[in-house]
């Protein structure tokens, strides 16, 4: 199994969300934006300064900071 942190993924890679860590409002906000366990995402790109990153979830583009993405565990899709 290819479990890794979302923040360790490279541009263009796809993955399925396994676990969303962290706590409190941030975690709930991530869920509310539709980033849920089992959702498939694609890392669209990193910002020029390598933070934040842009991901595509269900056709919509979201950005989150690297420190936030580090709380999300994903499984790479081949």
């Amino acid at each position: 199994m290819d479990s890794m942190r979302l923040s360790d993924m490279r541009e263009g890679q796809r993955a399925t969300i396994v676990r969303i860590g962290g706590s409190g409002p941030l975690r709930r906000r991530i869920l509310e934006m539709g980033i849920l366990k089992g959702t498939e995402i694609r890392v669209e790109k990193y910002a020029p300064l390598r933070d934040p990153l842009e991901i595509v979830v269900k056709g919509s583009h979201l950005s989150l900071r690297v420190e936030e993405a580090a709380q999300i565990t994903v499984e790479k899709v081949r």
Binding site: P48, P52, E54, H61
Partner: protein
């Protein structure tokens, strides 16, 4: 006589970027009122329209993704529905983003109100190969659904007709249409509801099932309201809630609110499966292609800086023309009044107080209009989110959001529009912090002060000194940001999870409304405060009227006049012109000396004298102190006051003033100290008015004034005393 129109309140709810504002603009046009929600800095928009014999008050709720009360916007939106009981809530659903739209929609539906869905931008969705069965959606959720295309004004009339019809229908809530949670959660909800229902004498503030859900979700606001209403029994309800919560946590190893969020999305996934048919793969994503360039690793920043540069360039070059016309207009009005009014107090008040004061601010209107046009353009096209995406890494160092960059940058031009631009920030804390540190971006009005002072005392190194001053401002803002983030504005740094909405072609109407709304605020509110401030400063400089001069200037002038008259008679005709000029200079000198003494003995001069002990430790003379005080109206005035106080004729200000400053004992070190003070001390009147308006809090405004001014004093003290210790003068 007509029967009085029936009044209905209709609230618009929806995600940011769902086209809610477009629909609102379409409905209300220019009849909208923009203000703030009471007590918070969230923009409140409403408009009243007449339709089919009804008077409809349309209220645009803040755009939110959910109704969990994290952000002030969500609290405002939810409270409005819960407490103000609008007759109908229209939830705008972005058809191209159904999951997230429905998440908010299911939450709105859980509230005790009449709901109507507007399925917006279905055309965009269709072009992406998404087909939505509105009939089915309406049946499944038991909510009427209307198709709309906001930017083409399609379906808007149907939407309003449907909303009116809905308001006429009977009671709102039917129990069958709630989200069904999993067995254990439903059991907990049921148990808590029964527990509360057992005490039939209790008056719960909200609908029982909803209350139970919110208590289980640990919703602080609902908990407080329940406690307030249920008195002694409240503690028991809390204990029961805690018991049920810990039971769920043991069972699922997760917080109930997380479980419920997850299940709501599960419920939505079920609905989507039934109502959506996705044909073929997605077509080319145009927005994505644009972003390949605009947020590109190499081109992203250069393009961003080009846009910002172009914005400033156009603001100031295009704005310069109307600025001239306005300036001429103000001059013309002043002349008119000058001719109309008899010499005396009233004339002085109107000319030197009202027209000079308000006139000096009104000339900025073109700049502000243009700047806001560009800001609206950035927002409406979707570029603002990209700017935040690019800049966030840098801004995060100060504990701010990427979007804070634009207001701070604008601060170098003028703090007033900059502070107003902070509205683009969603989190109230970010907004307050941005507003607090923006004045440290040295605005263009302070530049003349630096030029005169640095020019006089630092000669060839003046440029470097001025650059260092600007840099210090940025440094102070960074330090302040970090400081505030760990003290007053501590706590959840707003999560950056942000949508990068698809690029859209902006609508001119919407841009105009945006621009005009903000400029109107500038004109109306600023006008009032500035008027008052200008009159007060005028009063302080113009009074008392009778001053015991040390010298009899009138006699001196007469003497000079008489002496020249004699010389004139004796002189050859061709020398008379030169002599005449000489006479005028001599008379002007006497007049400026009188003016200097008059200002020194006016109230503001006395205040300056009184405050001398405050300015002495930072190496600023009482004249400098008075100049700084008058700079409160507008920073440019610092220089003109210094001119008056040093008895420099306004015609040859620059050089003469610099010489005069040297004469009155100013040194490079005290000039530096004064520059530092000007950089940091209290913002000008217009900026304070903007801070007051944008934060909606008098306390915060005073804090901003006190913080910047004490910081200015401490920094200037450090420069002056430290410099002297090191042996500079």
């Amino acid at each position: 006589m007509n029967a009085p129109a029936k009044r209905l309140t209709i609230a618009l709810a929806g995600n940011p970027n769902s086209g809610k504002t477009t629909i609102f603009n379409n409905l209300t046009g220019t009849r909208q009122k923009v203000g703030n929600w009471p007590g918070v800095t969230v923009e409140k928009k409403e408009g009243v329209i007449q339709r089919d014999g009804y008077e409809l008050k349309i209220v645009d709720l803040p755009g939110t993704y959910s109704l969990t009360p994290f952000s002030i916007e969500e609290i405002v939106a939810r409270d409005f529905v819960l407490e103000a009981h609008p007759d109908v809530v229209i939830d705008i659903i972005d058809a191209s983003n159904l999951d997230r739209s429905l998440y908010l929609a299911t939450q709105v539906r859980e509230l005790d109100c009449k709901v109507l869905f507007a399925l917006n931008m279905a055309d965009v969705a269709r072009s992406r190969g998404i087909k939505i069965d509105a009939q089915k959606l309406s049946e499944l959720l038991e909510v009427p659904v209307v198709f709309t295309v906001g930017n083409k004004h399609e379906g808007i009339d149907v939407l309003i007709a449907e909303a009116i019809a809905l308001s006429e229908r009977g009671a709102a809530a039917t129990p069958s249409r709630k989200v069904k949670y999993s067995k254990d959660i439903e059991a907990a909800i049921g148990a808590l509801r029964d527990f509360m229902a057992a005490r039939s004498d209790l008056a719960l503030p909200y609908e029982p099932r909803w209350t139970a859900i919110k208590l289980l979700e640990d919703d602080k606001i609902v908990t407080a309201r329940v406690l307030e209403k249920t008195g002694a029994f409240g503690a028991e309800i809390l204990a029961e809630t805690a018991r049920l919560r810990s039971h769920l946590m043991d069972r699922f190893d997760d917080d109930p609110e997380i479980l419920m969020t997850d299940e709501r999305y599960g419920f939505i996934a079920g609905i989507i499966k039934e109502v959506v048919t996705t044909s073929t793969r997605q077509r080319v994503d145009i927005s994505r292609n644009i972003d390949l360039v605009l947020t590109n690793r190499f081109f992203g920043f250069p393009i961003f800086f080009f846009f910002i540069w172009a914005m400033f360039q156009l603001t100031f070059t295009l704005g310069a023309y109307p600025m001239e016309w306005l300036d001429a207009g103000v001059g013309w009005i002043a002349q008119g009044f000058s001719a109309l009014l008899p010499d005396g107090l009233l004339k002085d008040l109107v000319l030197d107080g009202v027209i000079a004061g308000v006139g000096s601010i009104i000339v900025f209107l073109p700049n502000i209009l243009i700047l806001f046009f560009f800001i609206a353009l950035f927002e409406d096209t979707g570029y603002m989110a990209r700017a935040a995406f690019l800049m966030d890494r840098i801004m995060h160092l100060i504990g701010l959001h990427g979007k804070s960059f634009i207001p701070m940058l604008m601060g170098f031009g003028c703090n007033v529009p900059a502070i107003m631009a902070a509205r683009a920030l969603e989190s109230e804390k970010d907004r307050k912090l941005t507003i607090l540190i923006t004045p440290f971006m040295s605005c263009s009005a302070k530049l003349p002060v630096y030029i005169i002072l640095a020019g006089a005392f630092f000669g060839p190194r003046a440029g470097t000194v001025i650059f260092a001053i600007y840099l210090s401002g940025i440094l102070v803002s960074i330090v302040t940001g970090r400081l505030m983030r760990s003290t007053l504005l501590r706590g959840a740094d707003a999560p950056f999870v942000m949508e990068l909405p698809p690029y859209r072609v902006p609508m001119l109407k919407s841009l105009m409304i945006h621009m005009w709304d903000r400029s109107k605020i500038f004109l109306r509110k600023m006008g009032g405060i500035i008027l008052a401030g200008a009159v007060i400063i005028w009063f302080l400089t113009a009074f008392p009227r009778h001053i015991d001069y040390t010298t009899d200037y009138t006699a001196a002038a007469e003497q000079v006049g008489a002496a020249f008259n004699e010389r004139m008679l004796a002189a050859a005709p061709e020398a008379r012109a030169a002599l005449e000029a000489e006479r005028r200079t001599a008379l002007d000198k006497i007049e400026t000396a009188r003016e200097a003494e008059r200002t020194e003995k006016s109230y503001i001069g006395r205040i300056g004298r009184f405050l001398e002990p405050v300015f002495a430790p930072i190496g600023i003379s009482w004249r400098g102190g008075v100049a700084l005080l008058t700079g409160f109206v507008a920073k440019e005035i610092v220089i003109s006051t210094l001119g008056v106080l040093h008895a420099v004729d306004s015609a040859d200000e620059g050089d003469a003033l610099q010489r005069a400053l040297h004469r009155t004992g100013m040194t490079p070190l005290s000039a530096l100290s004064m520059m530092v003070f000007v950089l940091l001390y209290l913002p000008c009147l217009a900026t304070i008015a903007a801070i007051r308006r944008e934060t909606g809090s008098l306390r915060w405004t005073f804090f901003s004034i006190a913080y910047s001014t004490s910081l200015a004093w401490v920094a200037a003290f450090g420069v002056w005393q430290g410099g002297r210790l090191l042996g500079f003068s």
